[in-house]
C-alpha cells in the first residue's frame, strides 16, 4: 500500500508539473491584465507541435528545440496580446470570448498544418529508465518534474528580486498606482503575456516525448491548471504552484483507493473542499478591482 501511494505520488508530481506550468502562465497574465486566457491549453499544444517540428525536422537536439519552441510561443503570445487582448482591454467578457475563439483557431490551424493524427516524438536521450526500488521511471518523467521545479525557482527569484519582476508584481497589485510611479504597464503586459505562453510551450515540449503530440493534448492541463489556480488563490503565483501540484497528486493518489472513473471528480472535489475552508484559495490575495 505504501509503495503504491509513493508511486502514485511520483505520477502525480509529474502530472502536477504540467498543471503548474499552465497555471503559472495563466496566473501571471491574469495578474497584470486581469484576463483569463482560456486558450492557454491550446498554446501548450502548439508549443508541443513547434518543439516536435524543430526536433524532428530541423535540429535533432531536444534541449535546443525546447528553447526554440518557448521562443516561438513567446513571440506568438506577444502578437496575441497586441492583436487580440490589448484592443479588448477593459472588456472582460469579450476577452474571454476571444480566448475561446482562439482555441478553435489554433486547434484547426494545427490540424491543417500537421493533420489530425497524433505525432510521436521519440527522444532517445531521455528514454532511459531509472530504477527506484521495484519501480522504474523514464528520465523524461523525472525531467518534467525537475525542470518545473527549476522554472518555479527561477521565476520566483525573477519576480522577487529583479527590477522588472517587481514591476510585474506592482502592476498586478495596482495598475493605476504602477502607472503613477512610472512603470511602463503596457510593456509589462506584453512581456508577461510572452512569458506566460513560453511557460505553456515548455509544458507541451516536456510532455510531448512522454506521450504523444496531438491536437487535444492541452485540454486537460488547461482545466486542471485552472482548478489549481482557484485552489491556490486567484492571482497568487505560489498558489498556482501549490494548487497545480495538489491537483496532480490528489487525482493520482486517489486511484489507489477509488475507481479511476472518479479521478477527474477527485481533482475538483478537492478544489471545492479547499475553497469551502479558504474561500479565497490557500494563498488568497485580493486582486485589484475584485471586491
Amino acid at each position: 500500500m505504501l509503495s503504491a501511494v509513493l508511486e502514485q505520488t511520483l505520477n502525480g508530481l509529474m502530472a502536477g508539473s504540467v498543471y503548474v506550468l499552465v497555471a503559472l502562465g495563466m496566473v501571471l497574465i491574469y495578474g497584470v491584465m486581469h484576463v483569463l486566457n482560456f486558450a492557454h491549453g491550446v498554446l501548450l499544444m502548439v508549443g508541443a507541435y513547434v518543439c516536435h517540428f524543430f526536433f524532428v525536422r530541423l535540429t535533432g537536439s531536444y534541449p535546443l528545440s525546447i528553447l526554440l519552441s518557448a521562443a516561438v510561443l513567446a513571440l506568438l503570445g506577444i502578437a496575441l496580446e497586441r492583436a487580440v487582448f490589448r484592443p479588448l482591454q477593459g472588456n472582460l467578457r469579450n476577452q474571454v470570448i476571444a480566448s475561446l475563439g482562439l482555441i478553435l483557431v489554433f486547434e484547426n490551424l494545427v490540424i491543417a498544418l500537421w493533420g489530425p493524427n497524433a505525432l510521436q516524438m521519440k527522444v532517445a536521450a531521455t528514454a532511459a529508465l531509472v530504477p527506484l526500488g521495484e519501480m522504474r521511471f523514464s528520465v523524461q518523467h523525472l525531467l518534467v518534474i525537475a525542470v518545473t521545479l527549476a522554472v518555479v525557482l527561477v521565476l520566483f527569484s525573477f519576480l522577487k528580486f529583479s527590477k522588472f519582476g517587481t514591476a510585474i508584481r506592482a502592476t498586478s497589485q495596482d495598475r493605476m498606482a504602477a502607472m503613477v510611479v512610472g512603470i511602463p504597464v503596457e510593456r509589462v503586459d506584453w512581456i508577461t503575456f510572452g512569458l506566460g505562453t513560453a511557460l505553456a510551450a515548455l509544458g507541451g515540449a516536456l510532455i510531448g516525448p512522454l506521450f504523444i503530440v496531438f491536437p487535444q493534448m492541452g485540454d486537460a492541463p488547461m482545466v486542471k491548471g485552472l482548478a489549481g489556480i482557484l485552489l491556490g488563490g486567484m492571482g497568487s503565483v505560489p498558489g498556482a504552484v501549490i494548487g497545480g501540484f495538489i491537483i496532480g497528486i490528489a487525482e493520482s493518489v486517489s486511484t489507489v483507493f477509488l475507481p479511476t472513473d472518479y479521478r477527474d471528480s477527485v481533482a475538483f472535489i478537492v478544489m471545492v473542499l479547499i475553497l469551502l475552508v479558504w474561500p479565497r484559495g490557500i494563498f488568497g490575495v485580493s486582486v485589484r478591482g475584485e471586491d
Binding site: M1, S3, A4, E7, Q8, N11, M14, A15, P116, N117, A118, Q120, L129, P131, E134, M135, R136, F137, S138, H141, L210, F211, I212, F214, Q216, M217, D219, A220, E251, S252, T255, V256, P259, T260, D261, R263, D264
Partner: protein, 379 residues
C-alpha cells in the same frame, strides 16, 4: 457512305465503352478521427471493384454491369451518416450501401436503410447492439465485439492468467468488453479495472495499480494509439505482466509504433491474420501488397469480402431492387478471404476469430483456434 460508316463505328465503340454502370453506395471516413482505418476500408472496396470490373463486370437478369462506387465521407459523425444514407437512397438511388467504421454512425444509418428498403452491409463496426434491433435490412460481415470477446475468453480460460486486469475506454466498447469478459470468465478471475477517457494519454496511475494488485495479465480494451502508449508505459515501468490486446494491436503498423521487445509474448484477438497459410488469405495478402505496398489489413479484407459478396447476391437476386437483394443476402453462403460468411437471422455473419501472439522477432503466430494453429511468421 464513308461518313455513315464512321458514325456507325463510333456508335459501336461507344456501346462497348459505355457498358452500364451500377452505382453502389459506400459510407466511410475519409476525414476526421477515423480517417486512418477508413483508408483500409476504401482500399478493400477499391481492390474488389477493380477485380470485378477488370473481369468484365457482372450480370443481373441477363444484363451486364460494371461496379461504380458512390463514396460518402461520414467523418465518424452520426448526423453526417444519416444524411449520406438519405442521399444515397433518394438522389443516387443505389440498391445497396456498404461500409461504415463507427458503431454510433452505423446506428444512425441503419434506420434509414430500413425506411427506404435498401440493405446496409457493415464491414467494420463491432457494436453488438447494431444487429439486435430487428432491422431486416442490416447485415454485418465482420465479427462483433461479443464474438471477439467470446473467442478471447475461451482462449484465456485455458491460461493461468488471473487475476486479469483491465485498462479500457470509458465508453460502450470498453465497458461492454469488460462486462463481457467478467460474464465469461467469472468475477473471481478479474483484478483491477481502470477506465480512461478519449484523449487521456497518461496511464501511469493504472500501471501503478496493476503492479500493486499483482495482476498476472492485463487486457487493453482500446485501439492502436492509446494501446501503444499503454504498452510503452507498462513496460517502461518494469511490469512483466502478460499483455492482452484487441484486433488493432496485431499488425505491422502497430509494431512500427513500438518494438518487438516490448510486444513479445502479447496476445490479441484478430479477425484476419494476414500471413496465415490459408489459401484465400494468401492470395488476398499478395494482391493487396502489390497494389498498396503494405501489409494487408483486416478492415480491408472484410470490406473486400463485403463488396464481392454483395455483387454475388445481386446476381442471385436477378434484379436491381433493394428488397430482392435483401432476400438474396439473407440466403447467401459465401467463401471469402476472412472465411465462410453466412448471415444469421439477425443479419450477423460468423467468420472465424483468431488469437495471435507476438514472437520475439516481431512476427506473429496463431494460437487459436486450435485447428488453425501456426508458428511464428504465419500470424
Amino acid at each position: 457512305m464513308a461518313r455513315f460508316f464512321g458514325v456507325f463505328l463510333l456508335l459501336v465503340a461507344c456501346g462497348a465503352a459505355a457498358q452500364e454502370k451500377l452505382a453502389i453506395g459506400i459510407v466511410t471516413s475519409l476525414s476526421g478521427p477515423m480517417a486512418a482505418p477508413g483508408k483500409f476500408q476504401m482500399n478493400g472496396f477499391r481492390l474488389a471493384e477493380e477485380e470485378i470490373n477488370s473481369a468484365g463486370g457482372f450480370s443481373v437478369g441477363g444484363k451486364k454491369y460494371l461496379v461504380e462506387l458512390k463514396v460518402y465521407d461520414t467523418r465518424a459523425n452520426p448526423a453526417e451518416g444519416a444524411s449520406a444514407m438519405q442521399r444515397l437512397a433518394t438522389v443516387d438511388k443505389v440498391p445497396v450501401v456498404l461500409g461504415e467504421l463507427h458503431s454510433g454512425v452505423a446506428a444512425a444509418e441503419a434506420p434509414v436503410a430500413q425506411d427506404y428498403s435498401i440493405p446496409l452491409v457493415l464491414t467494420i463496426p463491432t457494436g453488438p447492439n447494431l444487429t439486435e434491433q430487428g432491422n431486416r435490412f442490416l447485415f454485418r460481415v465482420n465479427a462483433n465485439n461479443d464474438q471477439l470477446t467470446q473467442a478471447l475468453a475461451e482462449f484465456i480460460a485455458g491460461q493461468a492468467w488471473t487475476p486479469l486486469a483491465f485498462i479500457a475506454w470509458n465508453n460502450d466498447a470498453g465497458r461492454g468488453g469488460v462486462n463481457g469478459m467478467k460474464k465469461l470468465l467469472g468475477e473471481a478471475r478479474i483484478g483491477y479495472v481502470g477506465y480512461f477517457n478519449v484523449g487521456e494519454v497518461d496511464f501511469s496511475s493504472h500501471v501503478s495499480n496493476i503492479r500493486a494488485g499483482n495482476a498476472r495479465a492485463v487486457m487493453l480494451l482500446m485501439d492502436e494509439e492509446p494501446g501503444s502508449l499503454a504498452i510503452k508505459q507498462i513496460r517502461d515501468a518494469g511490469l512483466k505482466t502478460q499483455l492482452v490486446g484487441t484486433l488493432a494491436m496485431g499488425s505491422d503498423r502497430f509494431l512500427k509504433r513500438l518494438d518487438a521487445q516490448r510486444l513479445e509474448g502479447m496476445v490479441q484477438y484478430n479477425a484476419f491474420p494476414p500471413n496465415a497459410k490459408v489459401p484465400g488469405i494468401r492470395v488476398f495478402s499478395e494482391r493487396y501488397r502489390k497494389k498498396y505496398g503494405e501489409e494487408a489489413h483486416g478492415f480491408a479484407a472484410q470490406s473486400y469480402d463485403g463488396l464481392k459478396l454483395t455483387v454475388a447476391a445481386l446476381q442471385k437476386a436477378g434484379k436491381i431492387d433493394g428488397r430482392a437483394l435483401r432476400d438474396a443476402l439473407a440466403a447467401i453462403e459465401y467463401d471469402g478471404v476472412i472465411g465462410h460468411i453466412k448471415f444469421d437471422a439477425k443479419g450477423q455473419a460468423h467468420p472465424p476469430v483468431y488469437v495471435t501472439q507476438w514472437c520475439s522477432d516481431g512476427k506473429r503466430r496463431i494460437l487459436y483456434p486450435e485447428t488453425l494453429k501456426a508458428d511464428c511468421g504465419a500470424g
